[in-house]
Amino acid sequence: MTSSTATAAASPATPKTRYRGVTARILRRAWGQTEMKLAASIFLALTLLTLFGPYVIDASATKMSVANKFLPPIFMEGGKLPHFLGTDQLGRDLLLRSLIGLRNAFAIGVVSVVGMFILGCAIGIYSGYRGGLTDVILMRLTDVQMSIPVVILAITVLGMSRPSPLTIIAVLILASWPVYARVARGVTLAERQKEYVRAAKILGASDLRIMVRHIAPSILPPIAFVAVLDVARMMIFEAIFGFIGIGIQPPTPTFGTIIASGTQYLLNAWWITIVPGVLLALALGSLNLMGGVLERARNHILQGGE
């Protein structure tokens, strides 16, 4: 019985505002932030560069050239075109190698996040909705899965078999789905008690219909916003795998192998390691900033803000 819209600001979130076009309001709030526009511009620029760079830059990512090895970036003394960011110990163009690495990492990141999102959320909603023994078994399964650290699982599986993009994606999905299952289950437990679910049951909707048509559309969008952050996290994992030598295998360029190969020449040709890393950090930074802003916008809206 808060007496006006004005006092609603001082009282906790009323259920009235909670389920009104949540997704649209989160996006609108997020887009209103300067950080979001900045991050989106950086991301767009990098995407364009990755898509069109290889056709515009007159160089090859895999062609070796003894004459051009250890060329510094063009902003340093001794740098020369078209090698904007210099070359590595084999004379290969670092910008091109980085862009291709970025493309591969991003593809692996997106596919694996989509995979873990679908798998995890499906299991989570099912577990939370069913409850009882099903829930106990599925949640203990996530306990088991979560108690094996990602890197141990990855080095065991990838280190023992021949790594390929598909096995890398599989390992990432396998290692990270429980997080989504946990979150989706938690929200479903709360959602199951809501009146619209009860209403749907009374109307005669089947359990599957309630899960797919009623619960999923209300709970998934807020979870999906945070998945943006995981794309960046998966890209880091991809780089780590490459660094240890269990990622995509040479000659395909990946950040991990570029950084690892540069470590030997750190003192005289530091750019081989540092410069591609800056590019990767820029890409990850734009993704994380977008994810962070979205997450904050989500929390703000879910806590009853406008």
Binding site: V144, S147, I152, T156, F243, T273, I274, N299
Partner: protein, 329 residues
């Protein structure tokens, strides 16, 4: 009291089941991947008949569940078997002797290898967490207490920046800047405490963004709770409300975060960081074991890691239910 006993009885029994399942998964996984353990033990020079003879003698031809049962029986006495590769006196012995001369006693015990490496990893982890707290607590609290103001932005920027730096790259950059270029700190290997500092910084950069986010979100959420505003009107000062109530309530989600997420991250981070810095801890031991297909070490580390996670989660949940009595257990 009754509640605590029931809690631990329940959770310990569940935990034991989980650890056994993890052990079984890893154990099976390691026996179905390509690579015959006996070939790894004896090396490429051993003859096929000698291999079979030795494999049967060591029980490697028994069905997996028999091997697993035998292994778990040993584990309960603290014995994780012996390394395939590493000699008891240190160094790699794999593949250098003939089948007849192979004696399991000449290989290092896995428990001893882990016991040697563990203190290094613990030291690194503790320093890494300490550094992470040093950064995350002030920034996270500031961001949570002044939501929407500049400390909040600072929290967003710092966490977005740190979470975007891949640890492998940060490691190399810090080696370059703090060690190779300037010579301020030693970096590769371990010959004293100073060798822990740069690796710990890398760990801290990996851990702190998650902490900053979690602290600021849960503190800000509690400032928005009705009880906070009401407390001010009841006559309590803002400082009392924050110190005695907001932080207490914010601790519950934070504890859960530490259980569910941080420990896993910390373990993963340790592995990578130790590898980058050739730091002689558990991670280094394990990664080398993977490359050498030294199965006993891998399975022992996996089992111990999951047992540690289960135990920490149990303690964290107990702490949470003690703080917030409404929580179910």
């Amino acid at each position: 009291m009754a509640f605590a006993i029931e809690f631990f009885l329940r959770r310990i029994s569940q935990g034991v089941v989980i650890v056994i399942l993890v052990a079984f998964v890893i154990f099976t996984l390691l026996r179905i991947v390509p690579g015959d353990p006996i070939r790894i033990i004896l090396g490429p020079m051993a003859s096929a008949t000698a291999l079979e003879e030795k494999a049967t003698e060591l029980g490697l031809r028994d069905p997996i569940y028999v091997q697993f049962g035998r292994f778990m029986g040993q584990v309960t006495t603290g014995d994780f078997g012996r390394s395939f590769i590493r000699g008891a006196q240190g160094g790699s012995a794999g593949g250098s002797q003939d089948a007849v001369g192979y004696n399991p006693e000449s290989r290092a015990s896995v428990s001893a290898l882990i016991a040697n490496a563990l203190p290094y990893s613990l030291q690194l982890a503790a320093l890494g967490i300490a550094f992470a707290f040093l950064v995350a607590i002030p920034i996270g609290l500031g961001a949570g207490l002044r939501a929407g103001k500049w400390p909040d932005r600072l929290g967003l920027y710092v966490s977005s920046l740190f979470v975007s730096l891949p640890n492998i790259w940060v490691g190399v950059v810090l080696i370059f800047l703090l060690s190779a270029k300037t010579g301020w700190l030693p970096a590769i290997g371990y010959q004293g405490f100073a060798y822990t500092i740069i690796p710990a910084m890398v760990l801290a950069i990996e851990l702190s963004p998650v902490m900053i986010r979690a602290i600021s979100v849960s503190v800000a959420a509690n400032l928005g709770e009705v009880y906070f505003d009401v407390g001010l009107v009841r006559g309590l000062s803002r400082r009392t409300m924050v110190a005695k109530h907001v932080l207490r309530n914010a601790a519950v989600p934070l504890l859960n975060l530490f259980g569910a997420q941080m420990i896993g991250m910390l373990l993963g981070g340790l592995f990578v960081v130790e590898y980058i810095f050739s730091y002689p801890g558990i991670g280094m031991l394990t990664i080398n074991a993977v490359f050498q297909r030294d199965f006993p070490i891998i399975q022992a580390v996996a089992i111990l890691a999951s047992a540690a996670l289960v135990a920490i989660n149990m303690l964290v949940d107990f702490a949470s239910t003690t703080i917030d009595r409404r929580l179910k257990f």
